[in-house]
């Protein structure tokens, strides 16, 4: 019986959207309003439950997994339905459910196949939430893959002119990462004694050095390299594609530019964070030796992301592509912070995931607003929009300043923490990364100047200001941009003990 009776609050957060999707499938296609309401209701309810978990039952003084539920899923195969959260996954889960709420009003402009759109949209939410709460590697993989199909169709059907190409590119890139992860999954399972998929148990085994491939390969060596190195490489490529880490980033600009606004919001806001989360939860703890050996290499990749991403962003003429490349740059801070592996740097990197989730989501909503009105995104063709759209200008400035790291706003805290924390181990790299900070400031300020300031382009003299619906989407994010900048403790206090636990697992 175990299964149904033990479904707890985390499972509700994960599966409420699925029930919403099923309900939508039962509605007639013509009932657009009802479909939108069900989608909004399901997303809001999941968020409300999640917020309650964040504030009430979750004990933030503990670094261990909490609210754990376990049920035997496929007997005889050691596959369990195991869910739980700690201070690393819970804030990300909260960001996820919040972004899905924000993305629903932004989806009201979708006209074609509304029923299919919202059903896939909610299915996507289940996939993402599921990844964050999974404590079983097999379950983690299943949820990870559940995201692919909705994303393919959401980009491919509701996207821009080159959507077919962007959709299959996204799918193929991600699937390459997934199958590498699948191979690693099988290897880890067979090597663990006793066989298990439990992530906490595997982490403990790896920390003791027991996950060394001796049960799988002769002396744990394959083609001259130790098992740990192979494991690390397979998992890292899988997650790096998702982040995306240079040179696996090329799917991102295509997917972002072609995806409809709300899907870009989800993609930048939360899907990229799954890569980072996977590294923290699985990649590094399961291959700690290889992680320490690869530290410098990871830092170099991080710096390349920061600087290269910023330079490429500067060269963009398309507003959305610019934001997309700025994401590549911002994810570099996260990777650099992980690579340095100090308390400060990892805390900063975690916080960077959250602040970037908020600020990039906001920026994509901002781009969506102007695109809906002008039907193009060429930065050079705008000008003086602040005169006609003051509220929009205000929100945009807030989003952009958060993203470029203005002190007092969210982005500053996380970037500063990540860089300062990394200085101890990689002083040179941090110095180089500062170039990225400067370039980011430059291209964002230049963008503000070209889009909002200067003489008004007469073609856009009649554009209406941001609507109430659009404000609803952006307001929670705007509040968070300020709140996280002034009181980062609302996250830091939650994640601190869990990160201490993470560092304990990685201690040599």
């Amino acid at each position: 019986m175990g299964w149904l009776s033990s479904i707890d609050v985390l499972s509700w957060i994960v599966f409420l959207p699925t029930f919403g999707a099923l309900a939508i499938l039962l509605l007639p296609s013509a009932a657009k309003r009802a479909i939108q309401r069900v989608a909004f209701g399901a997303a809001l309810l999941a968020f409300a439950l999640n917020l309650w978990v964040y504030l009430v039952p979750f004990d933030r003084t503990k670094g261990a997994m909490q609210l754990v539920t376990e049920a035997n899923w496929i007997p005889g195969f050691d596959i369990f339905y195991r869910v739980g959260v700690d201070g690393i996954s819970l804030p990300l889960l909260l960001l996820n459910t919040l972004l899905f709420v924000c993305a629903v009003p932004a989806s009201f402009t979708i006209e074609k196949g509304v029923k299919g759109y919202f059903a896939l949209f909610l299915l996507l939410e289940t996939g993402v939430s599921g990844v964050f709460v999974s404590l079983d590697f097999f379950l983690f993989y299943v949820f990870w893959e559940v995201m692919l199909l909705p994303m393919y169709f959401l980009i491919g059907v509701w996207g821009g002119p080159r959507r077919e190409y962007a959709a299959i590119k996204f799918f193929l890139y991600t699937l390459v990462g997934s199958v590498l992860m699948l191979v690693a999954l099988v290897a880890v399972y067979l090597d663990a004694q006793p066989h298990t998929f439990s992530i906490p148990k595997l982490q403990e085994l790896a920390q003791r050095g027991a996950l060394d491939g001796r049960h799988l390969l002769e002396n744990g060596i394959l083609l001259g390299l130790p098992f740990q190195t192979w494991l690390f490489a397979f998992l890292f490529i899988g997650f790096a594609i998702k982040v995306p880490v240079f040179p696996f980033h090329t799917w991102l600009p295509d997917a972002h530019v072609e995806a409809p606004t709300p899907i870009s919001v989800i993609l930048a806001g939360i899907l990229l964070k799954l890569g980072g989360y996977g590294m923290l939860r699985i990649n590094f703890p399961l291959a700690p030796q290889a992680f320490h050996d690869a530290g410098t290499f990871l830092a170099v990749l991080g710096v390349i992301n920061i600087v290269y991403g910023a330079f490429v962003a500067m060269a963009q003429t398309d507003f959305k592509k610019l934001v997309a490349y700025s994401s590549v740059s911002h994810m570099g801070y996260m990777l650099l912070g992980f690579a340095a592996c100090t308390t400060w740097s990892v805390n900063g990197a975690m916080l960077q995931m959250l602040t970037h989730g908020v600020s990039s989501a906001m920026l994509f909503l901002i781009v969506g607003v102007v695109y809906d009105r002008a039907h193009h995104r060429e930065i050079a063709k705008f000008g003086g929009l602040s005169q006609r759209m003051p509220l929009y200008f205000g929100l945009s400035t807030l989003g952009i300043f958060t993203s470029l790291g203005l002190p007092g706003l969210a982005g500053f805290v996380s970037e500063a923490m990540a860089l300062a924390g990394s200085y101890e181990r990689f002083p040179t790299f941090v110095m180089i990364s500062v170039i990225g900070v400067v370039i980011t400031a430059a291209f964002f300020l230049w963008t503000i100047q070209r889009v909002f300031l200067g003489p008004l382009n007469e073609k856009y003299a009649t554009l209406p200001d941001i609507s109430a619906r659009e404000v609803v989407s952006q307001a929670p994010l705007a509040v968070l941009c300020v709140a996280l900048g002034i009181f980062p403790v609302i996250v830091l206090n939650w994640q601190g003990p869990a990160i201490a636990e993470f560092l304990r697992l990685l201690a040599r």
Partner: protein, 501 residues
């Protein structure tokens, strides 16, 4: 105590019922002067149902009828597989575009006869019966492949199938005759015992492991026998017939060949392999079994890689599914290559996964072909919006064929990966994983044509026949449901494989 003739007859009741049904369909069509196609179909369906019923009511204790027909759970599982495919094929035949109006009696007669062949094929370790049943299945299949008489492609398919079939079975027979010559028995189980025993070397008089003494001859014989199986399951390099035959044959026949015929051949291969090379069958046999495993692993890798790469360039849905079915034969061989019970279980499970997703895919081809008038991917333009039910089902089958969770195809692949790696075939797992990525590319060309491409007004939408729609719905539920909760099938696979080892 030897069983009586009546008891033996009762043991092959499912086969008998099916054979009688075949004759009944033929005679009934003659009596109705070929005007009652639908009613003949009902007779076929009824005899399949009766045969299934007889199967399910069979005594579960393993027994041997007439000294050569093994009646056990393993055979029963595969017979259920074949019968369930036959039932679906009968339904497909009722709604396929290219089925001739006349000759329903012959069609169902041949189909059910092929079914009888498949039934016997999965229930014997006797080499004579193995060859006979393989030929029964084969002969009926050759004629079925050419059943669309006016169609040149169908005639070509029949001829190709026949020529390749004759050659492959000939080679197989030669191999089996060597085995018979070495051991003096037709029973594979006895052969294993004889080969494992000691014998005095005629020249030196020293006692030797017989297997080692006859090593090269056994190796040649087994490899030659493998050609016959490789042909039936369409493994590279014995696959050349498959694309042309799959494309040319009427779609219901293609379905039968791709699912029932292939499944039964895999069943026979597993049974034959387990009987001839049981674990603990002596030093020589174990060493040989290891080598054979590597050979099969190589075949598996080649088969899946070739099938997937060749499928990428196809524009005809049936031809694409033909290459895809070659690739899936490669995946299934992964478990056989493991040469142990866990691997065999994984193969049997994968065949069930294959049943759901491939029958679904062929059903969709039949439906789309009626709407568009051909089987080209290009003509599906935007059909997903007009035929939402069938197309959503198709997307589910596609994710299962690629092996993305939550679907039965994913769990099947996972199980195969696990079994192969656990038997020291880690490299094969990596090859198979890379293949999954390639397969995504061509399978999702179908999804792309259905949903991403703008709609074309040229395509007429018509409602699917209710029976076909219901069937596709059931297969979809099975694909997802059994992918999430595979427990029941896993138990049946483990139980049946235990019986043959």
């Amino acid at each position: 105590m030897p069983s009586t003739y009546a008891e033996d007859l009762a043991r092959i009741l499912p086969e008998t019922v099916l054979a009688l049904g075949a004759c009944a369909a033929l005679v009934a069509d003659l009596l109705w002067r070929g005007r009652e196609t639908r009613r003949v179909g009902w007779i076929a369906l009824a005899s399949i149902a009766a045969s299934l019923l007889a199967l399910l009511r069979q005594d579960p204790a393993p027994a041997i009828a007439f000294g050569m027909v093994t009646v056990d759970g393993f055979g029963a599982l595969f017979k259920v597989f074949v019968a369930a495919t036959l039932a679906v094929v009968v339904l497909f035949a009722a709604s396929a575009r290219e089925m001739p109006r006349h000759g329903a009696g012959e069609f169902y007669f041949l189909l059910l006869s092929a079914g009888v062949g498949a039934f016997f094929l999965v229930s014997t370790t006797n080499l004579l019966l193995l060859v006979l049943s393989l030929e029964t299945l084969g002969l009926a299949s050759y004629v079925l492949a050419g059943f669309a008489k006016g169609d040149r492609r169908s005639a070509e398919a029949a001829l190709k199938y026949l020529v390749f079939g004759a050659a492959a079975t000939g080679v197989m027979l030669f191999g089996l005759s060597i085995l018979f010559g070495l051991t003096g028995t037709l029973e594979a189980r006895e052969m294993a015992g004889i080969l494992a025993g000691k014998a005095a070397d005629p020249a030196t008089g020293i006692a030797l492991d017989r297997f080692r003494a006859a090593g090269p001859a056994v190796a040649i014989a087994v490899v030659l026998a493998l050609v016959g199986f490789g042909y039936k399951v369409s493994a590279v390099p014995f696959h050349w017939w498959a694309p042309d035959v799959y494309e040319g044959a009427p779609t219901p026949v293609t379905t039968f060949l791709a699912v029932a015929s292939k499944g039964a051949a895999f069943g026979a291969l597993l049974r034959f392999g387990a009987a001839l090379l049981p674990p603990g069958g002596g030093e020589g046999a174990t060493a040989f079994s290891g080598k054979l495993g590597h050979l099969l692993a190589l075949l598996s890798a080649l088969t899946m890689t070739f099938g997937n790469l060749a499928a990428v360039r196809q524009n005809n849905l049936k031809r694409l599914l033909a290459y895809s079915s070659i690739a899936h034969a490669g995946y299934t061989l992964m478990g056989v290559a493991a040469m142990n019970p866990a691997g065999f279980e994984a193969s049997v499970f994968y065949l069930f996964a294959y049943y759901f997703m491939n029958l679904g895919a062929f059903g969709a081809v039949i439906y789309y072909a009626r709407s568009t008038g051909n089987e080209d991917i290009g003509s599906l333009r935007g059909l997903g919006w007009r035929a939402p039910f069938v197309s959503v089902c198709v997307v589910v089958f596609l994710i299962s064929l690629v092996g993305i969770p939550p679907s039965i195809g994913f769990f099947g692949k996972y199980y195969l990966f696990m079994a192969a790696w656990d038997s020291g075939l880690g490299w094969l797992t990596v090859v198979a994983a890379a293949n999954a990525v390639v397969s995504l590319f061509y399978y999702f060309r179908i999804a792309k044509a259905l949903y991403l491409v703008p709609e074309s007004e040229a395509v007429a939408y018509h409602r699917p026949v209710p029976a076909l729609a219901a069937l596709l719905g059931l297969l979809t539920v099975g694909t997802v449901g059994l992918g999430l909760f595979p427990k029941s099938i896993l138990a049946a696979c483990a139980e049946s494989v235990r019986l043959i080892f």
